[in-house]
């Protein structure tokens, strides 16, 4: 089985840039990735592209060939849609293609344009990741769904709004030096606790922002990297995916996310490691409670115990297991269809040593990325390792 190297990574600045078209955003991220990779565009055999709400935000379906064109590629191109896990799935399918020997060079990425919809419009667009008949028509919003999970978590295991606020404070602190982050500013515990409610117990700073942005990667096989003298020290050594019932009320638990556990078990087995080998993680913190649910389903914490991880400093930059050193979705931003690829970008930079927060994890060799769709009806986990 061929190994998969991350040859190049690129991001746009994440933020509120409502006038920029999706094709322009993706082109910018792809230029950075190809400059970083030093791989000719003519060698690319396929483009795997993630996007969720382009049909609503830009009235643009059939986006993959458009994005290939924008990125200067003439290869076959396919769009993957799995809500906020769209780009995670695009990465996973690229890994499978290279491992199978089908491809040596795959371009992967994602783009989401959201702020042009306005907050109500983006709220409506995000909600369609839920069950339309039984959830959306009942008034359930995306923050509302995670709020139900937070409420159930507090009832089952304990925990407080203050525990969640510590996660927001941590992730904002991590983003301070990240030039691509939407919010390069700190948030105090008081700011987080005093912010306006969105869906109780979640308030404004418990929620990832609405974000425009794009991410791109160039993935190559070991043999291609070797033959072409490509510097690509980071490898994707584990990949896994899981699914669950779409509607939250149809799940066995409101406080567990088995799709993440399924994806993690598959990725750990694939990488031939256990969770104790993970030095740092980028997890899908679309809401503060989502970081808690992820750490538990990833088996990095026992169920019921990750709620205090940020508060006690275990997951802060100088903790035993730094989580979301990029700033996470919370502070780096969450252009939903790009997020899964952006996590691989950030983890690669962290492990290679060219991320502003790399110095804090100088000895780190193994990182995990976790990308989730909806209320975790979809989850994708990747394990990255420094191999050269």
């Amino acid at each position: 089985m061929a190994g998969v190297r991350v040859a190049g990574v690129g991001l746009t600045h994440f933020g509120q840039i409502p006038d920029r078209t999706g094709r322009d955003l993706f082109a910018e991220a792809s230029i950075r990735a190809f400059e970083d990779a030093d791989v000719p565009r003519a060698d690319v055999e396929q483009l795997n592209y993630g996007n969720f709400m382009g049909s609503m935000a830009e009235h643009q379906g059939h986006q993959a060939p458009l994005m290939a064109e924008a990125a200067g590629l003439t290869c076959p191109a396919t769009r993957y849609e799995e809500a906020c896990a769209s780009a995670g799935v695009a990465v996973r399918e690229a890994v499978k293609s290279i491992r199978s020997g089908e491809s040596d060079v795959v371009a992967v990425g994602g783009m989401e344009r959201m702020t042009n919809l306005g907050t109500p419009g983006a709220t409506e667009a995000l909600a369609i990741a839920a069950d339309d008949l039984y959830e959306v028509r009942a008034g359930m919003t995306f923050p509302g769904a995670y709020a139900l999970m937070a409420s159930a978590y507090f009832d089952t295991f304990g925990g407080s709004r203050e525990d969640l606020a510590h996660i927001a404070v941590k992730n904002h602190a991590n983003a301070l030096e990240n030039e691509y982050a939407q919010y390069q500013r700190s948030v105090s515990l008081e700011d987080a606790l005093d912010a306006q409610p969105v869906a109780t117990p979640l308030h404004l700073y418990d929620c990832a922002p609405i974000t425009d942005g794009a991410a791109a990667l160039v993935l190559v096989s070991d043999s291609y990297a070797e033959a072409n003298d490509i510097a690509a020290p980071v490898s994707i050594v584990g990949s896994g995916q899981g699914s669950d019932n779409l509607a939250l009320h149809d799940r066995d638990h409101l406080v567990r996310t088995p799709a993440t556990a399924q994806a993690a078990n598959m990725a750990y087995e694939d990488a031939a490691i256990g969770p104790d080998a993970i030095d740092l993680a980028e997890v899908h913190d679309c809401f503060t409670i989502a970081e808690v649910l992820a750490l538990e389903a990833l088996d990095l914490y026992p169920y019921g115990e990750a709620i205090t991880a940020a508060r006690t400093g275990e997951t802060t930059i100088d903790g035993a297991l730094p989580v979301n050193l990029s700033g996470g979705l919370k502070a780096k931003g969450h252009p939903v269809g790009a997020t899964g690829a952006s996590q691989i970008v950030e983890m690669t930079r962290l492990l290679r040593g060219d991320h502003p927060n790399s110095d804090a994890v100088e000895d780190a060799r193994t990182g995990l990325t976790h990308n989730a769709g909806g209320t975790v009806a979809s989850a994708v986990v990747h394990v990255l390792e420094v191999v050269a």
Partner: protein, 133 residues
């Protein structure tokens, strides 16, 4: 009967009948031969894989398992805010809906409610509603 309303627009067969049955006080769920519950439209039980699904009456009352008060809504619900969204356990199935009949902030887990169908404040679309008993 698949018209969602009187407009003549296509409806959602299976779901519309289910919602109408809830409105009439004759709500049902689908039961597999091994006793698992699920909601229509459905041909295959997601728990057992059985295709032998039978309509059974939903219990009259359920218990609130989780609740949130939504302050930021989509345009479809903007005039309904703030409102309580709850997941209610009816035994064989759970349902998600809006709790009415008390201040949203006083809705608590463990409360007993019954389900009915009303309309949104924002639009005239039908809405699954829970009211305390």
């Amino acid at each position: 009967m698949t018209d969602a309303d009187d407009s003549g627009a296509p409806g959602d067969a299976g779901f519309d009948e289910w919602l109408a049955a809830i409105a009439d006080g004759n709500g049902y769920y689908l039961e597999s031969p091994t006793g698992e519950g699920s909601l229509p439209p459905r041909r295959i039980c997601p728990h057992s894989g059985s295709t032998q699904l039978e309509e059974q009456p939903i219990p009259d009352t359920g218990t609130i398992e989780a609740v949130t008060v939504v302050h930021v809504a989509s345009p479809q619900f903007v005039d309904d805010t703030p409102y309580a969204t709850a997941v209610v356990d009816f035994g064989p199935v759970r349902l998600t809906g809006m709790v009415r009949g008390l201040d949203p902030d006083s809705v608590e887990t463990g409360m007993t409610v019954e389900s009915t169908v009303e309309t949104r404040a924002t639009t005239d679309d039908p809405l699954l509603v829970f009211r305390p008993v």
